[in-house]
């Protein structure tokens, strides 16, 4: 730690004696207006005094306070210290110092400079990123020194890019050319932006810059295609989750449940309730999302069982009447939730492992929450298939579906199987709600947005076929996302709907049609 500090001091502040006054003066600027704050942050970054790091970080987190007499304090937990001296301060009524985006950008650049050689990997990576964005020729020696010590490949890569960008900002023509060549060898949109930005300032190098941009674009094209494909799969996974429960209740039982969307919504609200309930239990609070999965399943399944036993079982063999009945039930569930929880959206926070992006091979980046939902949807599909094909309950369920009377004759209690099947499908809808709470509004209207799409997926895939639901959902998602940039969001969806309608009339039983007697019912 000390060696790092010395290194910094040697590099940046040869006149240590004057630095003390300069540090004090720059620090005072942090309490001023936005323009003054930004300038002060930049100066602190240039001074290279490591004492600035906790202060700048405090400012960026809203923990830097200004007392009535103008003294700056750093809040650490419930304890305040003077920013300049580090001594404990017993001052009440200090107000947090406010910043804006301009200050925030300056702070990031300064912190980047100051923490390029930090022992913490994540900090170094963020620092390289920040220095890349602030791209000043002054950073070149700093980056070179940091690169010499760096041995983590990912951080090195970012630092090299930052170095290239800083070289491009240098006055010297040869350094500029080197920078252009290095940036051109990357596959980064940010590098592309940097190149284009400097194009106007360096007309002499325009041709080289254009060549570098073209090279980047070539690499990016493949990546964009991969990302679009992932986006399609992600949309498909959402459709899959929303439709799976329906594939059971509608596909297997033939019950049209218009309240399906409301079960999804109940699952999302269960997630919210779990989060609030576990807030007080520190050991369980971080696990509220995974714990919501079984909870949502149980809540939705219980509602489903009540609905089936209480109402739907009186209407078997009359699918269209069930449609109307469940539409009415859906209206009531929606209004009950609206009165119980309020019409406003409820906040369901994402755990840290579901935030941000993940970089896969070839620089393809995907968002974490979408990736998890994709994995989760396949998992739920797998469990559903397993439940239907590997368990006793699944066997009875299939038996009742195929021939109710023979199944009853064999001693299967068909009424109970119906209730369980419907509860099972509803429970899956509830699980879908847990996932949707991570990407959509948790509001009483949540479910109604998915109901039609879900029906389309099930019918398109082939009623009664879970494989069909999977293929249907994924292909619809991908086609939608591929069309979107050309047709716009709305028309892409309209095209997909029309295509499904035409497809259904060619193959009324969907992609994976059931054959034989079951299909005729």
């Amino acid at each position: 730690m000390r060696r790092i500090a010395i290194l910094l001091l040697v590099l940046l502040a040869p006149l240590a004696g004057h630095a003390q006054d300069a540090f004090e003066a720059a620090l005072a600027g942090l309490g001023g207006g936005f323009a003054q704050q930004a300038e002060a942050a930049e100066r602190l970054g240039m001074l290279g005094d490591p004492r600035a790091v906790p202060i700048l970080r405090a400012l960026s987190d809203g923990r830097l306070l200004r007392a009535g007499d103008g003294a700056l304090l750093v809040r650490e937990g419930d304890r305040n210290t003077f920013a300049l001296t580090g001594a404990a301060a017993e001052i009440s009524g200090a107000e947090p110092v406010r910043i804006n985006n301009r200050v925030r950008a300056a702070l990031r650049g300064a912190l980047g400079r100051l923490s390029l050689v930090s022992p913490d990997q994540a900090e170094r990576l963020a620092a390289a990123e920040a220095v890349f964005r602030s791209r000043a020729a002054e950073n070149i020696p700093l980056l070179e020194a940091a690169l010499a010590r760096e041995n983590v490949a990912r951080i090195r890569e970012r630092m090299e890019l930052a170095l290239a960008a800083s070289r491009l900002a240098a006055g010297d023509e040869a350094a500029k050319r080197a920078g252009i060549a290095e940036l051109g060898a990357s596959a980064s949109t940010e590098a592309r932006a940097v190149l284009l930005e400097s194009r106007a300032a360096a007309p002499a190098l325009a041709a080289e810059i254009d060549a570098a941009v073209t090279a980047i674009d070539r690499r990016l094209a493949i990546r964009h295609a991969a990302e679009t494909f992932f986006q399609g799969l992600s949309l498909g996974s959402v459709l899959l989750l929303a439709a799976l429960g329906l594939a059971v209740t509608f596909g297997v039982m033939g019950v049209i449940n218009m309240a399906h969307g409301e079960f999804v919504m109940l699952g999302a609200y269960t997630t919210f309730v779990m989060q609030e309930a576990l807030r007080g239990i520190p050991a369980l609070a971080p696990w509220s999302l995974p714990l919501s999965v079984p909870a949502a399943f149980l809540v939705a399944a219980a509602c489903g069982a009540v609905l089936e036993r209480g109402l739907i079982r009186h209407l078997y063999g009359r699918p269209l009447e069930t449609l109307l009945l469940t539409f009415g039930v859906g209206m009531m569930i929606q209004q009950a939730v609206r009165l119980g929880f309020g019409a406003q959206n409820r906040e369901v926070t994402s755990p840290p492992w579901m935030q941000g992006t993940l970089e896969l091979a070839f620089g393809v980046t995907v968002t974490q929450n979408r990736l998890w939902i994709l994995v989760f949807s396949l998992l739920v599909l797998g469990l559903t298939v397993a439940a239907i094909h590997l368990t006793r309950f699944g066997l009875e369920m299939r038996a009742v579906t195929q021939n109710r009377r023979i199944a009853a004759a064999m001693g299967i209690r068909t009424g109970r199987v119906d209730a369980f099947t419907f509860a099972f499908g509803s429970g899956i809808a509830g699980i879908a709600g847990v996932a949707l709470s991570q990407i959509d509004n948790v509001s009483p209207n949540l479910g109604s947005g998915y109901i039609i799409d879900s029906f389309m997926v099930v019918v398109f895939g082939g009623v009664g076929s879970l494989a069909g639901t999977l293929v249907g959902a994924m292909s619809l998602g991908v086609v939608n996302k591929v069309l979107e940039p050309y047709a716009g969001v709305v028309l892409a969806k309209v095209f997909v709907l029309v295509a499904i309608m035409l497809f259904i009339q060619r193959r009324p039983r969907g992609l994976f049609a059931l054959r034989g007697r079951a299909a005729e019912q």
Binding site: M258, L324, M331, I452, G488, V494, L497
Partner: protein
């Protein structure tokens, strides 16, 4: 029954006359009652058309709202053209929304709508043509039951999404409003309201007569046969697809007519009318009144909508429970709807 119907129509016909009485007269009926009843009459026509398709031909369309809305849009385009230079921007040809969206000329599909006969024709032709295409494709492939319902639902959903787009040239979400006049009558007057009211009533009676005659002909009986056992009817040599197609197209045209009468009365048409929920609600009117009886469809449309109008003011937080509960009760306990209840009551009283 017949006498009751006549009395009901006569009573309805009296409303605008009572409205014309001085406001302090004991029998005076407010504008609100007249305009809201006019709306219900249009809903009743929609319910009739749906009953023809569902109650008699077994086609449960969850997209009848689309035909209703298309009829409404056709007349709406005419009404927009009639505004002429009286719009906010004073453009001689273009409606206001086109002016501020930067259109320089009228899109081709708007041509001709300045003539009432053309618009009136389109009110019937556009929904009819859509029904013809969708019905032809669906019935040819023998799509029935639930699948057909979902197909028609997708149809209205796709249309809703499309009409919400501002680039379509139909005013997007705001749709058409601020109508001035129809056939030379300024719309915001009691006279125009009375005229539209009577037009709707006449249309309702006419639609009722057409349907009731149609369902009693041989064609109507074949239709019922198809509803009850389509394969059997086919094996007997009937071209079931063609029979169903005719009923479906006629039904769509009636729905379009209902929409065209509805729009000038409520003063707005927007893509919300394509909302699949609206179509399902229309199905529920028929179910509540009594599917497969024309009187039932009309009765259902009136009673559910009257209830909705009353409850959205009397119990704004709870009306959805009442309405949702009604749907549940009717489907569970009154499979033949309100008509079934009346029949049972009458039979119970008979010696």
């Amino acid at each position: 029954m017949r006498a009751g119907l006549g009395a009901a129509v006569g009573l309805l016909a009296l409303l605008p006359a009572l409205n014309a009485l001085p406001t302090d007269h004991a029998l005076h009926v407010s504008d609100f009652i007249v305009s809201v009843t006019g709306k219900w009459i249009c809903y009743a026509i929609l319910a009739l058309s749906l009953d023809l398709a569902w109650g008699y031909a077994g086609i449960l369309s969850l997209g009848h709202g689309a035909f209703f809305a298309l009829g409404g849009y056709a007349i709406g385009m005419h009404l927009m053209r009639l505004i002429g230079p009286r719009g906010a921007y004073g453009h001689p040809v273009l409606p206001d929304f086109m002016v501020f969206l930067g259109y320089t000329q009228l899109p081709w599909f708007w041509r001709g709508f300045e003539y009432f006969p053309y618009a009136a024709l389109m009110v019937l032709l556009v929904p009819g043509a859509l029904a013809l295409v969708v019905g032809f494709l669906a019935f040819r492939s023998r799509i029935t039951g639930v699948y057909l319902s979902i197909l028609t639902q997708a149809m209205t959903y796709a249309l809703m999404l499309a009409f919400f787009r501002n680039d379509m040239g139909f005013g997007g979400n705001n749709g058409f409003t601020d109508f001035k006049e129809l056939l030379g009558m300024p719309l915001a007057t009691p006279r125009a309201r009375a005229a539209l009211f009577y037009a709707s009533l006449v249309a309702l009676v006419a639609a009722f007569l057409i349907c009731s005659v149609l369902t009693r002909t041989k064609y109507g009986r074949v239709l019922t046969a198809i509803r009850d056992a389509e394969s059997r009817a086919r094996f007997l040599g009937y071209d079931t697809a063609r029979h169903k197609l005719f009923a479906f197209v006629l039904s769509a045209m009636l729905a379009g007519l209902a929409g065209a009468l509805y729009v000038p009365q409520v003063g707005i048409i927007n893509p919300g009318e394509f909302n699949p929920g609206n179509s399902i609600e229309a199905v529920i009117w028929v179910a509540v009144g009594g599917r497969g009886t024309l009187v039932g469809a009309v009765l259902g449309a009136f009673s559910v909508n009257a209830l909705k109008t009353w409850l959205t003011s009397a119990a704004p937080d709870l009306w959805l429970f009442a309405l949702g509960g009604l749907f549940v009760v009717v489907t569970l306990f009154l499979p033949r709807g309100l008509i079934g209840v009346f029949d049972r009551l009458r039979k119970g009283r008979a010696p």
